[in-house]
């Protein structure tokens, strides 16, 4: 059983349905014992960073997530869930994240329209990463976000990105931790193919 961490932010049904479609059985839970027993952890998220990290901390699950991830359990953060993996965010202030990945979440300070909303194509940075197994470079995925993970030139976690005036990290990985900025559950067949590959690589 894989656990979608429930910290009271938004509708998790579509995320759960997407994992079900690729054959990953998931449970939406905020219970410590479920997280400890889980085969892998999924951290979803919509809304603002501040509210999300507040809610997540209030569940008391952060130390348990830390412990499980250190033991090598896979964790995948999706959309805002990816941003939470970083050290800090500047959305509506200055907030500390989970700190699994080095870097900061900054506003998309660009001339193009913000939020970065719609279908953008993926460019591969680490083409041999197994999560890309069932998709091709330039496949389109669906983004909705105004902040992005900025880790400067030291972006060794970068697996795939999109161009939107700036380089937008789309898939990142640090060992057993993955982050996906776009919405695989809203990205039609390409999104499912990414989850399909994820399922294989963690099993």
């Amino acid at each position: 059983m894989h656990v979608i961490i429930d910290y009271g932010m938004g509708n998790l049904d579509s995320v759960q349905r997407a994992f079900t479609k690729v054959g990953m059985e998931t449970k939406i839970s905020n219970k410590a014992e479920d997280i400890k027993k889980a085969k892998s952890l999924i951290l979803p998220g919509v809304g603002a960073f501040r509210d999300a990290i507040d809610s997540l901390e209030k569940t008391g699950l952060v130390p348990i997530i830390n412990e499980e991830v250190k033991k090598g359990k896979y964790l995948i953060g999706i959309c805002l869930g990816m941003q939470l993996l970083y050290e800090k965010s500047y959305e509506y202030g200055n907030y500390k994240g989970l700190g699994f990945i080095q870097g900061e979440i900054k506003f998309l300070d660009i001339k193009l329209k913000v939020p970065h909303m719609g279908w953008n194509n993926l460019k591969f940075k680490t083409a041999d990463d197994p999560i890309l197994k069932y998709i091709k470079e330039d496949d389109y995925v669906y983004f909705v976000h105004s902040y992005y993970a900025s880790s400067g030139s030291n972006n060794k976690e970068l697996i795939a990105y999109s161009d939107y005036e700036d380089l937008i990290p789309a898939i990142v990985r640090k060992e057993n931790i993955y982050g996906i900025q776009f919405h695989p559950e809203k990205s039609a067949e390409v999104g499912l193919n990414i989850l399909r590959a994820y399922k294989e690589l963690i099993s």
């Binding site: 509708n11 970065h116 279908w119 909705v144």
Partner: protein, 252 residues
């Protein structure tokens, strides 16, 4: 590069898809989830459902279609029609829609946009504007499905809507709706020049060239149409191939 979006629009009444010509002569087409799935599989980038169910009481039942659509498709979709309170937004987003569009109620109560935007984020608040050219050569905003003229100017209302927190503008031309003569490019161009959020063209598609013109000459981010898709006059795959060959960034 961000792709331009092709968006089939489905009018829903009492849980069924219908399509009006000049908002009248309504013809039944099909079930929302069935058509939704069909379009999603055909390569639609997003879907819009407008619930035109007359009474609030009936709409509660009608909106059950949102849950069914969310289960069927895995592309983003927007729901509009009769939304007038924050509870309506909450209800529809909980059922699994990605965006909610407001029209008449936002004209009557512009603060609804601000409140909803603060609560749910600008990206899921779509301001839908029904506009009709007036004698002065500008465009007036209409409400109640095109039946009632307001004193608002469409371009000014779009700008105001974005200031209040709308994350996207859908511009529906009443003059062109159902006429198949092409989109109202002048109106669209004025609005895309005036706001810095995505603008979606609606009303007037009759041929593939009309879609191209809306992107090329009015720089819209998305193009919405209904009957040409519902009646199979234009196939989404063909349209996307055509636009791509014309050099438009399109997801295929």
């Amino acid at each position: 590069m961000l792709a331009r979006r092709i968006i089939p629009c489905l009018d829903v009444r009492n849980g069924r898809v219908v399509k009006g010509k000049k908002f009248q002569d309504i013809i039944d087409v099909d079930s929302p989830e069935k058509l939704g799935r069909f379009y999603s599989d055909s390569g639609a980038d997003e879907l819009v459902f407008y619930d035109i169910t007359a009474s609030n009481e009936e709409r509660k039942t009608s909106l059950e279609f949102v849950t069914r659509v969310a289960k069927e498709i895995n592309i983003p979709f927007c729901v509009g029609g009769g939304i007038s309170t924050i509870d309506d937004f909450t209800n529809i987003l909980r059922k699994g829609a990605d965006k909610v569009s407001v029209n008449s109620s936002a004209v009557r109560n512009p603060q609804l946009i601000r409140e909803a935007s603060l609560k749910f984020g600008a990206q899921c608040i779509i301001l839908s504007i029904d506009a009709k050219k007036n004698r002065e050569g500008s465009w007036s905003v209409y409400i109640k499905g095109g039946r009632e003229k307001t004193s608002l100017d469409a371009v000014e209302w779009a700008v105001k809507g974005v200031e209040l927190g709308a994350g996207e503008i859908v511009v529906n031309s009443i003059d062109e709706d159902g006429m198949k003569n092409g989109y109202d490019l002048d109106l669209l161009r004025k609005i895309t020049n005036a706001v810095n959020v995505p603008v979606i063209a609606s009303g007037g598609a009759g041929s593939m060239a009309h879609f191209y013109e809306a992107v090329k000459y009015a720089n819209v981010d998305g193009i919405l149409a209904a009957s040409v898709f519902h009646f199979g006059e234009i196939k989404i795959q063909d349209l996307k191939q055509y636009l791509k060959e014309k050099g438009i960034e399109i997801r295929i």
